[in-house]
């Protein structure tokens, strides 16, 4: 069904296939990166929001 619409637009197949391939490739690369990513570094990144808890406890001296 979709083909009949695409046929009406000159160059649309190139447009669509290229954009899909770009995204698919990108998605694949991100997926591969995540599969092989070091668990420690992921854990470090995931803990970033919690780091400033320590900061707050140690440096809560400023009052204005």
């Amino acid at each position: 069904m979709f083909k009949q619409f695409i046929d009406k637009i000159p160059g649309a197949d190139f447009f669509l296939v290229t954009s899909f391939l770009m995204f698919f490739l990108f998605f694949l690369l991100v997926g591969l990166y995540l599969i092989f990513a070091n668990k420690d570094s992921l854990r470090y990144m995931a803990n970033l929001p919690l780091q400033d808890v320590v900061e707050e406890q140690t440096s809560n001296k400023e009052v204005k």
């Binding site: 000159p10 447009f15 954009s19 990108f26 570094s41 470090y44 990144m45 900061e55 440096s59």
Partner: protein, 716 residues
């Protein structure tokens, strides 16, 4: 890192407090206007009998207030707080922070003044006129510079995933705003969009849908990724999932806009693209929801006791429900029933009240006591707020779902004789009134909750002291960092480089935008022209601008879809070629009243006169507000020539002579209509606004009718 020198600096909490206070105040204003317009739909007296508070004018005030004032300020509050801490740096420039804050508030005030005055472009969620659009762009750029400046001077090498969402928000909102604001100014308060008809509709809904995506969703996902771990005191469930769903979400979201235009005159291929990508959108959306909810695994006992977490859980669940429902609504068979009905209102409010509202409340309750170094004034009040707001959402959404379904089915019902069961549109409106009353009650509960929260938070502020500058320290950033091992991976490189990250985010969102927009603009076969369709006359154009001023498109569509139930009710379905001179398009998105695309010639001029003066005189039981000022006010024709000239520049084929004699032509047509009215027993001066409005309404859909009736006339 261990050898680096420790640097001492201060976080700017004052700017966070300012945005927080603005969030509370504008939230109440926006919700109050929401309750008023909800009441107007069953009690026309709530239009307050003057032109500045009619539904058509203040419905955009409500949407702009809750989206850009309430949610907008909440985003900035959360971003300014989290960004500084994630970057371990003070905001790049205090001056830019102040400019951003006051600039944004001024824009909101400008919106609150201009929209009731009827100064509007008519594009939904982008109604503000061009000078305010420019101001928005300037303030947004200031925000961007401040954000990137902070990221660049950060003391943490890794850019946490929340900041990715902020970057994607910044770049995409800038793109959407610029493309959807290309207007040709006529005066300081009036402009016409460059695009017309189908193209204008596609640009608007590409913008409208992605305003939901990149203003109401991505920044809030960023806030969820920062604040939920803080509130639950545990890291996000899966950082891998956050990375994967970030890229998938920003890529796929941008394609889904055309699902707002199913069964319209938009080319079929674009509609199908919208549907396909909307279905795909479930995966990354639910990736975010699942990641949020699973963060609380093993900590559900905390949720039982902690009201802030309760707000988060209901908010994230509402996000899950809304993002499951959205793709279903984009299926053509479901959309055929639900589009233009209250179902869409229910869907939007599940997201707005649940996801945006509840996350905002949770963040406010979390932040204010911290910023003021005190305890929350009353936890009981917070708990009361949670329950009354949850009840408010239920009382709002459930009747609207029921109402939407009833409405959709009544419009489509045929009797045994093959005729419409409810040929009078008003029957379907009256049927919904009790449900609209319950909805307004739900909105009121939600508003009461917000007022209680405001009291609670202002008391909290009063009992504490603002820690305007919060001391912090962190190791200095290593400038000569040489990546090794895993740090040399391409994505790790990207995670350290904010500007390339911005560039690639832009590329990702541009792909879908270009594929959808470019063919619709460049391929002529997508919008076949119809020879019989002619430009509006000067008077009709002025009438059209009155239609825009009064916000008629907030309740009336101009798009007859190709269903038998619609062609029976309204007439021939709408064709793309009929809108080629419509700068802007006025298809609307909701039918509180009937479609008007084929209204021209259906009733005599005097019917419209009486109907506009007092709707119930012609349609007993109507909930439409009265427009007596159209009869009292003279039509302003001082810009008519400029308007025709501008249209000509935009490609409308007006002849020079037509433009030169615009005033004369306008007068002649107005006198003809006034004479017709006189024959029908209505005495009104041809200079009044009502005459222009009637001229426009009687022109709607007439061109194509003329084509259809010609052959039969010739045969006779």
């Amino acid at each position: 890192m261990e050898n680096s020198q420790i640097e001492h600096f201060e976080y700017d909490n004052r700017i966070v407090r300012n945005f927080g206070v603005a969030t509370i105040i504008w939230g109440i204003v926006g919700m109050l206007v929401g309750v008023i317009i909800a009441s107007q739909l069953f009690a026309p007296i709530m239009n307050l009998g003057n032109q500045y508070t009619t539904y058509g004018r203040i419905r955009p005030l409500h949407t702009n207030a809750v989206i850009f004032a309430f949610v907008g300020n909440a985003i900035f509050m959360g971003v300014y707080y989290s960004l500084q801490r994630l970057c371990k740096a003070r905001m790049f420039s205090d001056a830019l922070s102040k400019f951003h804050f006051w600039g944004w508030q001024l824009i909101i005030v400008a919106a609150a003044v201009t929209l009731p005055l009827g100064i509007t472009t008519s594009h939904e969620y982008a109604e503000l006129e061009w000078p305010i659009d420019i101001a928005i762009a300037l303030v947004w750029v200031a925000f961007g510079v401040n954000m990137f400046g902070t990221i660049i001077k950060r003391r943490e090498r890794h850019i946490y995933v929340a900041i990715w969402f902020y970057i994607a928000t910044f770049v995409t909102v800038a793109l959407l705003h610029i493309v959807n604001s290309v207007q040709l100014p006529i005066s300081f308060f009036k402009s016409y969009y460059l695009y017309a008809g189908v193209q204008d509709a596609l640009v608007q809904w590409w913008y409208g849908h992605n305003a939901v995506a990149f203003f109401l969703t991505t920044p809030y996902l960023g806030l969820m990724y920062y604040f939920l771990p803080k509130m639950a005191n545990r890291p996000i469930y899966s950082y891998k999932l956050s990375i994967l769903h970030f890229w998938a979400l920003i890529f796929i979201y941008i394609w889904a806009g055309p699902h707002h235009l199913l069964y319209t005159s938009l080319p079929d291929w674009a509609q199908s693209l919208g549907t396909v990508f909307s279905i795909m959108l479930i995966a990354p959306s639910w990736g975010g929801m699942v990641n949020g909810l699973l963060t609380l695994r093993g900590a559900w006992d905390k949720v039982r006791d902690d009201t802030i977490l309760k707000f988060m859980v209901v908010g994230i669940s509402a996000y899950g429900m809304a993002t499951f429902e959205g793709p279903l609504l984009s299926l053509k068979n479901i959309n055929a029933i639900t589009h233009f009905t209250d179902w869409i209102v229910a869907h939007v409010h599940t997201g707005a009240l649940g996801w945006n509202g509840f996350l905002t409340f949770a963040i406010l309750y979390y932040l204010i006591p911290k910023l003021f170094r005190t305890e929350l004034f009353s936890k009981k009040m917070m708990s009361f707020h949670f329950w009354i707001a949850t009840l408010g959402i239920i009382f709002y959404a459930v009747p609207m779902y029921v109402s939407g379904w009833i409405q959709g089915m009544m419009w489509k019902e045929f009797n045994e004789a093959g005729m419409l069961q409810y040929p009078n549109f008003l029957e379907t409106t009256i049927q919904l009134l009790p449900l609209h009353m319950i909805r307004a009650f739900g909105g009121l509960l939600y508003l009461v909750g917000a007022i209680v929260m405001a009291f609670n938070l202002f008391k909290t502020m009063a009992q504490g002291n603002l820690m305007a500058n919060e001391a912090a320290s962190a190791p200095a950033f290593e400038k000569d960092f040489v990546p090794t091992g895993e740090d040399t991976y391409w994505h790790r490189w990207l995670e350290r480089k904010p500007l390339p990250f911005l560039f690639w985010s832009l590329v990702v969102v541009l792909i879908g935008s270009l594929v959808e927009l470019v063919p619709t603009f460049l391929v002529k076969s997508n919008v076949p022209t119809i020879e019989a369709v002619k430009p509006y006359t000067a008077l009709e154009l002025e009438g059209r601008d009155l239609y825009i001023r009064e916000g008629c498109n907030n309740c009336h569509s101009q798009m007859v879809r190709p269903f038998r139930s619609e062609t029976e009710r309204y007439g021939e379905y709408s064709k793309a070629g009929e809108f080629v001179y419509d700068h802007p398009f006025l298809w609307g998105s909701k039918r509180t009243g009937p479609d008007l695309h084929r209204i021209g010639g259906k009733y005599p001029d005097s019917w419209h006169y009486h109907h506009m003066n007092e709707p119930t005189s012609m349609s007993p039981g109507s909930v439409m507000p009265a427009y007596p000022w159209l009869i009292e006010q003279d039509l302003n024709t001082t810009q008519t020539t400029e308007k025709l000239n501008a249209m000509k520049i935009l490609g409308v084929p007006y002849q020079d002579l037509e433009i030169a004699e615009a005033q004369t032509d306008l007068d002649m047509q107005a006198k003809t209509i006034a004479a017709n009215l006189a024959k029908e027993g209505v005495q009104v001066s041809h200079t009044k606004e009502i005459v222009a409005m009637i001229a426009y309404i009687q022109r709607l859909g007439v061109d194509i009718k003329a084509v259809q009736t010609q052959p039969s006339t010739a045969t006779r």
